[in-house]
Symmetry: C2
């Protein structure tokens, strides 16, 4: 009895390196659903059916796991964005690329990711949208590092397409674009909207390309702020005590 009796325990053939992938998949889904802080390592390892210590063994810490979850998809997606932009520029030859095409280079790789359920699909984009709004310093630092190159590349392209738009204004509009995009992708509400408004439409591809793109494109090409009559008129509202 006190000797070893490991006889009855038939163990499922051990996963060699799939443990990391199982953890990443489970973490992606759970981080997406509950956010970073509200997701425990115990729920992740239980979902992944691995030992609790596996996360710290393979990734070091919960924060590093989170970064690994993001990197796995974000890095290829941003790379695809830059590559597509470069390809379109090459196609255009010497003539400047239109805003619409540049915008498409930004949206299409995100869509390709979204419609590929085996590679994370919508779950990941929702997680990404959440991360965009997360206050945790390590998340903000990580994201701005991941995005810096891609954003700079696109800002240059947009600047060439919109030579009359001041750089300052362009920075703001790109910021608004990323805001509307991440909010839409993250949306719990967006999913509800999709269900309500598109009971039979194909996928959410339609929404992004055919609804968000025109909206963003028009915003990008909007006339410069000019302190219109309406603005001046309503400026007084700000002073009231109401």
């Amino acid at each position: 009895m006190p000797t070893k009796a490991p006889v009855l325990a038939l163990k499922p053939p051990r996963d060699p390196a799939t443990t990391k992938a199982r953890i990443l998949d489970a973490a992606e889904a759970l981080f997406m659903e509950h956010g970073f802080e509200a997701t425990s390592l115990r729920s992740i390892t239980a979902t992944a059916e691995v030992n609790l210590a596996a996360v710290n063994y393979h990734f070091g810490s919960k924060e590093e796991l989170f970064e690994a979850v993001l990197t796995r998809r974000l890095d290829p997606m941003n790379q695809a964005r830059v590559e597509l932009l470069t390809r379109l520029e090459a196609q255009a030859g010497s003539s400047p690329l239109s805003c619409e095409r540049i915008l498409m280079a930004l949206l299409i790789p995100a869509l390709k990711l979204a419609r590929d359920p085996e590679r994370g699909g919508k779950d990941f984009l929702r997680l990404l949208g959440r991360a965009y709004a997360d206050p945790a310093p390590f998340i903000r630092r990580f994201l701005s590092e991941q995005y810096a190159v891609m954003i700079a590349r696109f800002k240059g392209a947009f600047a060439r397409a919109l030579p009359q738009l001041p750089r300052k204004e362009l920075s703001w509009r790109l910021h608004f674009i990323m805001g509307a995009l991440s909010y839409t992708l993250a949306g719990t509400d967006a999913l509800k909207l999709i269900a309500e408004l598109n009971p039979h439409e194909s996928t959410n591809d339609e929404i992004l390309l055919r609804r968000l793109a025109p909206f963003l494109l028009a915003g990008l090409e909007a006339p410069l702020p000019d302190l219109s009559a309406v603005t001046r008129e309503l400026d007084g509202e700000l002073g009231r005590t109401g």
Copy 2:
């Protein structure tokens, strides 16, 4: 010695009902900075210089405290939005209100709140933007209840201003607007941008009214999605393996 000797303890004159307000203020700032989950009641009560049990005594639970923090500012703000919209409609008489004015009715009350530091100011709007992206079910339920009336009111106004825009499309565009707005208000990045791009501009009022508003207005009035040549051309990109 074992008897009471409470002599030396000179206590600062007790706050009668300011305890609740101190808690709300501290919670607002800390929830804004760290998010709901990452903020502990202990840090809140320490900041507010009240006893730990005060939160559960006055508010019942951490979740109810969070809702109280939101309600205190959100309720008046949304009410002000509806009131301003109603006032503008009355001014316009029988002629339909312009999109621009409706949009202003949405933005100006948010601005008034933002520039009033004694009433929460920017801290609260950042918190609100965060809450918009928070996955916690009780937060999502609370927000959609708080916003339902106001959003429906504005959707009706926009529908009258844009009679040619299908209702479905309008719903999406309102969603995008709220996304860009909350993202901008919540922005850790936005604050960085403000510092970088506007070293001497007055306040962030300028940003909202003069940069975001034209962007959103153009998006609202954008032409209907029409499967343009560019979209069709690039649709192929979605099928590739690359």
